[in-house]
């Protein structure tokens, strides 16, 4: 069963399009990473899925219903981000109790254990927490709610590295014990890649790639060698990225669909073929210009 189905989804703010013609499906009980650069439209997409925003065109179905203004979607979805707003009149403990009264699958025991583990003070107010503590508290709510669709928009922002590791571990353990559909957005792929099963890569409001994490890891290869040779070899291909890495040396990233003969040719030309990490593939695929940041300085 597909939990989220989008077809030609578009969201417009005035004239600028935050989301353009996105078509994808997110299957049940999978951890999907929504990966994109800053401003790629990750948050907008997630808010549309959560039913907070109205889409401009196309179609979106969450649990086979339009999520906007939908109670069923609201009851089965939780959207966690660092702008989450909680009442100033209730203490953290009371907030957990209130959340428990709203979400039917809420696990209060887990919430309290996590609450103690991260040494929260039950008489504190949400507004007085630091940024990292807020994210941690929101994460506790998100995990304990056990919603069939759990959406987390950059959940680790502001957390220190120890808390991050704890969070990812807690997320994984919870997911294994109670499988649910999780959409996790992040701009740091290397941090979440061990956790994800699928990756939805978006670039300036458009879907770039949607594949499993294993496929993404093998998506591209890098070749390094003399600029002349690299150019000669990649002549008939469309490199994802070409960089100069020193005097007459170049590094090109190409799709991993070359024949054995072509790879043999590369070796003959003295090119070094290397795998490319998922994080690097992501940054090459989503960079706005082919040359990268070096171009800015080389032209000056």
């Amino acid at each position: 069963m597909n939990v989220v189905v989008c077809h030609e989804l578009t969201k417009q703010y005035g004239r600028s399009k935050a989301i353009q013609n996105m078509t994808f499906r997110i299957a049940e009980n999978k951890i999907t990473g929504l990966i994109g650069r800053n401003g790629a439209g990750k948050t907008t997409l997630l808010k549309i899925i959560a039913g907070y925003l109205h889409h401009s065109a196309g179609d979106i179905q969450v649990f086979s219903e339009n999520p906007f203004n939908n109670l069923k979607v609201s009851a089965n979805t939780i959207f966690i981000d660092n702008e989450m707003s909680f009442s100033q009149g209730l203490t953290l403990k009371e907030l957990l109790e209130t959340a428990g009264s709203f979400y039917p699958n809420w696990n209060h025991d887990l919430a309290l254990k996590l609450f103690d583990y991260f040494s929260f003070n039950s008489n504190q107010y949400h507004g007085n927490l630091s940024k990292g503590m807020k994210s941690t508290f929101n994460m506790i709510v998100g995990l304990a709610a056990r919603c069939p669709l759990t959406i987390m928009d950059e959940p680790t922002s502001g957390m220190d590295s120890a808390t991050r590791k704890d969070f990812y571990r807690a997320l994984l353990k919870e997911y294994i014990a109670y499988p649910r559909t999780i959409i996790l957005s992040s701009h740091l792929l290397d941090e979440v890649e061990d956790l994800l099963e699928e990756v939805l890569l978006i670039k300036s409001g458009e879907k770039c790639l949607h594949l499993s994490i294993d496929q993404l890891k093998e998506y591209a290869i890098g070749v390094r060698g003399k600029t002349v040779n690299v150019e000669k070899w990649t002549e008939k291909m469309e490199p994802i990225s070409v960089q100069e890495i020193g005097a007459n040396m170049s590094y090109a990233v190409i799709r991993n669909d070359r024949s054995i003969k072509e790879l043999e040719d590369a070796r003959q030309l003295g090119l070094e073929v290397t795998p490319v990490s998922a994080e690097d593939i992501f940054s090459y695929l989503t960079s706005k210009t082919k040359g990268g940041i070096d171009h800015v300085f080389s032209r000056g």
Binding site: Y52, N69, S74, F86, E94, T98, F102
Partner: protein, 247 residues
């Protein structure tokens, strides 16, 4: 994981309970404002004096008018405050949709109006007693209210407070819809007042006050308030149902 089916009315009740708890500050401000109103009422809300032969007398009305007016303004402002972004976002951290969010807000306003209306009467008694002790000893207190009048008075206060809350709610929603209303609404209100003043023929606002104030039948009065309040609130519901939650 199975999908939970929830009933609208259950969630309305939960949101309402959540609001009663979390908007507690509203009631604190109510008490502060009432104390202030009592202070203002201390000189009596109306007075007169007279004499005949050897008797000279002053009389003062100690009524709840000022307290009621303060409560009406309080209700208006409270209603605007709960439509603001921070309060709206709070609902959506938990289960809700726009209608539920609005209905629970309206229920909250209704119950705080009832609370305010009752406390108007209680605080009236308080300040009448205070006035008796602080004024000179020769006072004769006349309490002219019968039980029915007392109840009718209380219900009327509640209805007036709720009317203002409904108006404030619509104003708040309009401002949330477009910030332009922040300018338009005061301009229309004060502009209207000024125009009435310039023309020397105050019609608009007088008609509005007469519509409610001159009504002698209690049942008709209840109907009028109920109809106007529900129109205001339905308009708010209609508008907010199309609003996006978070940008």
């Amino acid at each position: 994981m199975y999908l939970a089916e929830v009933k609208t009315w259950d969630i309305v009740k939960k949101q309402y309970r959540y609001k009663l708890k979390s908007y507690f500050g509203v009631f604190t401000s109510l008490i502060v404002i009432q104390l202030l109103a009592i202070l203002f009422s201390f000189n009596g809300t109306g007075s007169g004096s007279g004499s005949s032969n050897s008797i000279q007398y002053d009389f003062y009305y100690y009524t709840s008018d000022i307290i009621l007016i303060f409560m009406m303004i309080w209700a208006f402002i409270t209603a605007i405050i709960i439509t603001t972004r921070a309060y709206r976002y709070d609902d959506f951290s938990f289960v809700t949709n726009r209608v539920i969010s609005q209905v629970s807000n309206i229920l909250f306003l209704l119950s705080s109006s009832i609370f305010a209306g009752i406390t108007v009467y209680l605080s009236t008694n308080l300040f009448q007693i205070l006035a008796f002790y602080f004024k000179n000893n020769y006072s004769i207190i006349v309490d002219s209210l019968t039980v029915t009048e007392f109840i009718i008075g209380m219900i009327t206060s509640i209805l007036y407070i709720f009317l203002f809350a409904s108006a404030g709610y619509l104003v708040g929603i309009l401002i949330q819809l477009h910030k332009g209303f922040l300018l338009i609404i005061p301009t229309v209100l004060f502009g209207g007042l000024i125009l009435d003043g310039i023309g020397g023929d105050p019609r608009v606002f007088e008609n509005v006050t007469m519509f409610f104030g001159q009504e002698t039948s209690f049942i008709l009065f209840i109907c009028k308030i109920a109809i106007v309040s529900s129109l205001l609130l339905l308009a708010s519901l209609g508008i907010s149902n199309r609003m996006e939650v978070r940008k």
